[in-house]
Symmetry: C2
Subunit: 187 residues, 2 copies
DNA sequence: CATATCATGTAAGAGGTTACATGATTAC
DNA sequence: GTAATCATGTAACCTCTTACATGATATG
């Protein structure tokens, strides 16, 4: 285990209090805890599987939010199990905080796609280099589409299907875009 | 004008040095400066117009990155004009830093769409409420698609067209998704 | 002369990433 | 026994957002 936190630079805590609305990442963790207690590790894995396509979460964040939510009384640590597994369970306050979060109007999406920046400034790049970059990203999207379509074959609950479907529709659109762009910027 | 920065808490400076590669936001600003000197304000407006669809930038960031890039010698302030307009021009070092940035492999995209989180946890919401939220977002996407299509009618250089085209393809895909989701989660 | 817009920025901190440290247990 | 993976976390830092402060100039 790492060093004890120094008093001076102890990791800036995530800002979770009763007064402020939850951030979406913390809320998601609470969401997953509705299915029963989970450890930080479990949550990382679950989040990656279930919302990783459109909401990336790192292990650092998970442990930080869990600690903050424990301080705020939204989750409760259970008994430490084998391999230091430390399960967290939802409290009533946590359930209430989640309910409040999910009632709120979801904010606007925000896409950050560095490749599009590169394309936007494409005139500063030899055409071949740009085509190369596009090709690299195209195969990544093809692969993802294939993964999603495979996942869609084994059915799931309607909510998971809906988000998976978003991924499929999105990836198809991006691939269509690659076709068009390779025509217009290629030769 | 605001208070002078205190020595203790002076705004954390953006970390731009010759040693590290530029961040994408700073690089974009340099990209726009290839068309001639611009003030912070100009850059905010230009960025919003040209890359705002897939790379949001705030005024705070612009002024901070400009200050950092000036310290690093990547841009040079010109004479202050009317209304305190302070134009910045690209230096040779800035041109070189941009060239280096755009040669790099662009990173993966990252989409964060809170609505999808809400859908993923939709079972915790009365169906009508979820439908309401979907409807709100649908009209936002319809509006954006219309804007993009209007913009596409007045042609532009191929690189701008390509990124605009991404927006169009994306918005159409999202609308298609709304159709499907309203079917599967609606009744 | 009042309001809108142009224009500059600071302060504070939330949220996210990267890199690291540590050790237990399972599978080969 | 050694490598992979499970599992917990800290430290450091960057990036981005929100809220605010300040004033000049154009427009009605």
């Amino acid at each position: 285990m790492a060093d004890r936190p120094s008093e001076v630079t102890a990791g800036r805590a995530s800002n979770i209090t009763a007064a402020r609305p939850l951030n979406a990442t913390a809320a998601s963790l609470l969401g997953f805890l509705h299915d029963g207690p989970k450890t930080g590790w479990d949550l990382v894995v679950t989040a990656q599987e279930r919302i990783g396509k459109f909401w990336s979460i790192t292990t650092s964040q998970v442990y930080r939010e869990l600690a903050a939510m424990e301080r705020a009384g939204l989750v409760e640590a259970g008994e430490v199990g084998p391999r230091d597994r430390k399960p967290f369970a939802l409290t009533d306050a946590g359930r209430a905080a989640f309910a409040e979060w999910i009632e709120r109007e979801p904010g606007p999406e925000n896409i950050r796609y560095p490749l599009l920046l590169t394309v936007a400034f494409g005139r500063h790049l030899p055409p071949g280099r740009l085509a190369e970059m596009l090709a690299v990203h195209r195969v990544a999207h093809e692969r993802r589409l294939a993964d999603y379509e495979r996942a869609a074959e084994c059915g799931a609950d309607p909510y998971s299907s809906a988000t998976l479907d978003f991924g499929i529709v999105y990836e198809r659109a991006v691939l269509e875009w690659f076709d068009r762009v390779e025509d217009s910027l290629g030769p």
